[in-house]
């Protein structure tokens, strides 16, 4: 049940982030919306690997190596999400750097005023 709740929240965050990125006119706020969608995706992926009644994939006195397969949750989604979070920061920094450069050139962050990109 916990996994379903977390997954629904993750999906909701993706939608909120998408809506925010498409409707806001301020570049910085669009980037904020992107990070929200990013967090949502990560929550969904981790929730897929969760199994009720099992514990984290770390072997210790409570989880001996012999019965690990019956006691731990799926470690693969966690490894993937760990990568995704780190790359997410790299992408955010890149977007912020370009947004700042754009501001330096055009003196505005409002995409309505950046007419070269108008469609």
């Amino acid at each position: 049940m916990i996994a379903q709740i977390a997954m629904a929240t993750g999906f909701a965050l993706i939608l909120i982030g998408l809506y925010g990125a498409l409707t806001n006119h301020n570049l910085l706020r669009m980037i904020v919306a992107f990070t929200i969608a990013d967090t949502g995706v990560n929550i969904v992926i981790v929730a897929v690997g969760y199994m009720a009644g099992r514990t984290a994939p770390i072997l210790d006195a409570a989880v001996p190596a012999a019965e690990a397969a019956q006691r731990i949750i799926d470690p693969v989604p966690q490894a993937l999400v760990l990568t995704a979070i780190v790359i997410g920061l790299g992408i955010t920094a890149l977007m912020l750097a370009y947004a700042y450069k754009l501001y330096q050139k055009k003196r505005t962050l409002d995409i309505g005023k950046l007419t070269e990109l108008k469609w």
């Binding site: 199994m51 994939p57 690990a68 397969a69 799926d74 693969v76 490894a79 330096q104």
Partner: protein
Amino acid sequence: MIRRAVVLALVLAMGAIFATLLAGYAPDGDLNLTARYYADRTAPDIGSANIVTAIIVTYRGLDTLGEVTVLFLSATIVGLVLAGGRRRETAQRPPVPVGELLTTGSRFLVPLIMLLGVYVFVNGHLTPGGGFQGGAVVASGVLLMLLADPLKHFSHRLIAAVESVAGFAYVVIGVLGLVLAGGFLDNRILPLGELGALASAGAIPLIYSLVGLKVGAEFSSMLASLSETEEL
């Protein structure tokens, strides 16, 4: 507004797709084949108590090398994009008053934060944490230094040196794995040791420390580039 209506329709359509996915989701009762392999074979083959670490550093080590490369590229591009006109003298600006509390506090806290970062990445194979988390903690120490003394010109050369030495050593260890053990980035070039001891899991503590240094240097360079941009 028509634009907002289109956006809303798009979001609702995606929401419908997500709702279908959610309704059809049934949690697994048991580990799938891949996860079962990792759960069963990590202790005898890798010797790492933290299975996530074993996956990141050894089973999918090449992925991690690629990830660190992507991070390096994005740090470089951030530096490149923001480089224009940064060299103008920051010292000419009137010094921004920084609170006494922040200055003294940072002198006290920065070494502790760095120590915590090192602890996190050295123990990556035993406890939650590892190179990426430890690198981020180290970078927050650098961030505190930047906040406490914004006028100090940050040594990009030192960051670059740490970054490239760690990256080079990472690849050298990977090639050593190819020569001495089963394949690229194989951790069995050092004895596996006893499960749960600090000096165990072969080369994993070494590799994850190098990843930690590299990631910490990359994050620090991003933060320094963004904080040193010229005042408009």
